[in-house]
């Protein structure tokens, strides 16, 4: 068996997305979905409902009133956001462990995933996009490939690092050159295996290559930019450092000014403690 096939076979060792998580994603990818569809899915799972309400009531959202039901949560935060949070509250399982190959301690990959999803959501809201839940969820799980590739990166770290230092490759291109597959491509394969929507697979596959996005697609540039902002702020950055490429043309398509982006960084930093609380409520630490 070829090495890449062996790596892809390891997708099976990931904890699969729960049935309920799958259902929520189905609802959010359907433009005709309604509040009652979401309530119907969540209401039979008491643990999930309670956790979702705790998340919605966390300081990050700064709601003046305590929310007591999913219906109320949707009224205050919107169906898109509540669905995103339901997925977040249900997705941390694969992301919690330490990833030694990437030099990330326990909890750091999840902390990074949530941060990147929140920044993506913030940028998408500023652009008034209508697929915010898709963007949030894709940003949240975009590095699932790292969970599998981690052991291979650890074994080949010297060679990957040499390719970055001496050949000027990005870390992700070096992964592909040395191991045969990179974490974004592997993540896309996982997403396909789990029957995620083609739009989500596409974002995961190209989050480091937004030049592949079609001209009208703003989701990929947003997730790419949010990822770059996280790296700049040192969120979830490990042995790969900032050795990725910044695609100015793709980012320019979003029409953000330098000040907009700096304000995003300030807003995130100001909410730092609330974000930490949100990360822990969503299954991190």
């Amino acid at each position: 068996m070829k090495k890449i096939d062996r790596i892809i076979e390891e997708i099976d060792r990931l904890k699969p997305v729960s049935h309920i998580g799958e259902k929520i994603m189905e609802v959010t990818s359907n433009p005709d979905s309604s509040l009652s569809d979401l309530v119907d899915i969540v209401k039979y799972d008491q643990g999930m409902t309670a956790n979702l309400l705790r998340i919605c009531n966390s300081a990050y959202f700064g709601l003046a009133k305590e929310i007591a039901s999913i219906k109320q949560a949707v009224a205050y935060l919107g169906i898109d956001k509540v669905a995103s949070l339901a997925i977040m509250g249900n997705s941390s399982d694969n992301f919690r462990e330490a990833q030694e190959g990437y030099d990330l301690n326990e909890g750091e990959l999840w902390r990074y995933s949530v941060s990147s999803a929140l920044i993506s959501q913030d940028l998408a809201e500023k652009k008034h996009l209508n697929n915010i839940s898709l963007i949030f969820t894709s940003a949240l799980v975009k590095d699932i490939g790292k969970v599998i590739l981690n052991t291979y990166v650890k074994d080949s770290f010297e060679a990957i690092n040499m390719a970055v230092q001496n050949k000027g490759l990005t870390f992700i291109d070096a992964e592909k050159e040395v191991i045969g597959i990179d974490h974004a491509e592997l993540g896309a394969r996982v997403a396909e295996y789990w029957n995620f929507s083609p739009a989500m697979v596409n974002i995961i596959r190209n989050h480091h290559h937004p030049e592949n996005a079609s001209d009208e697609d703003l989701a990929i540039p947003i997730v790419h930019l949010a990822d770059c902002i996280c790296m700049m702020m040192g969120r979830g950055v490990g042995s790969d450092g900032l050795a990725y490429r910044y695609y100015q043309d793709a980012v320019d398509r979003l029409n953000f000014s330098d000040i907009d982006l700096q304000e995003t960084m300030v807003g995130f930093t100001e909410k730092f403690e609330d974000i930490e609380e949100l990360i822990s409520l969503s299954g991190g630490q």
Partner: protein, 159 residues
């Protein structure tokens, strides 16, 4: 005791038991200063170069910005008796993502604002490791003034 300095944060101490530590400097700058005579040290981790993007927020948290954080760091160590001409100064961070150009190249701008302020105020840097596409961690021991630097992909080293 480790005193962790977060993003947009600063700590100053003369407690010989304390160690100032900041993780994960990407495009941010970690600035450590230490006076070996009065044994006081400070560590600043600022994120953006200039506070004029939001003066109100800079008043609330001056440590987010270079132009407000750097003077605060020096002033706070002076309160403990530090003198500028004795300070050992360490500057690390300011990394860039590859091909990052123009205004949003925050790493480079963070470094530039520091160089300008130091030039104006005659402050000399003793150790500097800035730029590239790496991630850095900086540590300063108050008892001895010994500092350590970890660059992504390598082990922690004394500097």
């Amino acid at each position: 005791m480790n005193l962790i300095v977060g993003v947009g944060d600063m700590k100053v101490s003369n407690d010989p038991e304390s160690v100032l530590l900041t993780y994960s400097l990407g495009s941010c700058i970690g600035l450590a200063i230490y006076d070996p005579v009065v044994k006081v040290g400070g560590l600043l981790h600022y994120m953006l170069p200039e506070s004029n993007i939001d003066v109100q927020k800079a008043k609330k948290n001056p440590f987010m910005f270079g132009d407000t954080g750097i003077p605060s760091l020096f002033k706070d160590t002076y309160k403990f008796g530090a003198k500028k001409n004795r300070l050992k100064i360490i500057v690390v961070g300011g990394s860039q993502i590859l091909d990052q150009k123009g205004l949003f190249n925050i790493g480079k701008r963070n470094h530039t604002v520091l160089r300008k302020m130091f030039w104006k105020n005659n402050a000399m840097i003793d150790f500097e490791d800035v730029g590239g596409s790496v991630n850095r961690t900086l540590k300063l021991e108050i008892k001895t003034g010994q500092a350590w630097l970890k660059v992504s992909g390598t082990e922690m080293k004394k500097i």
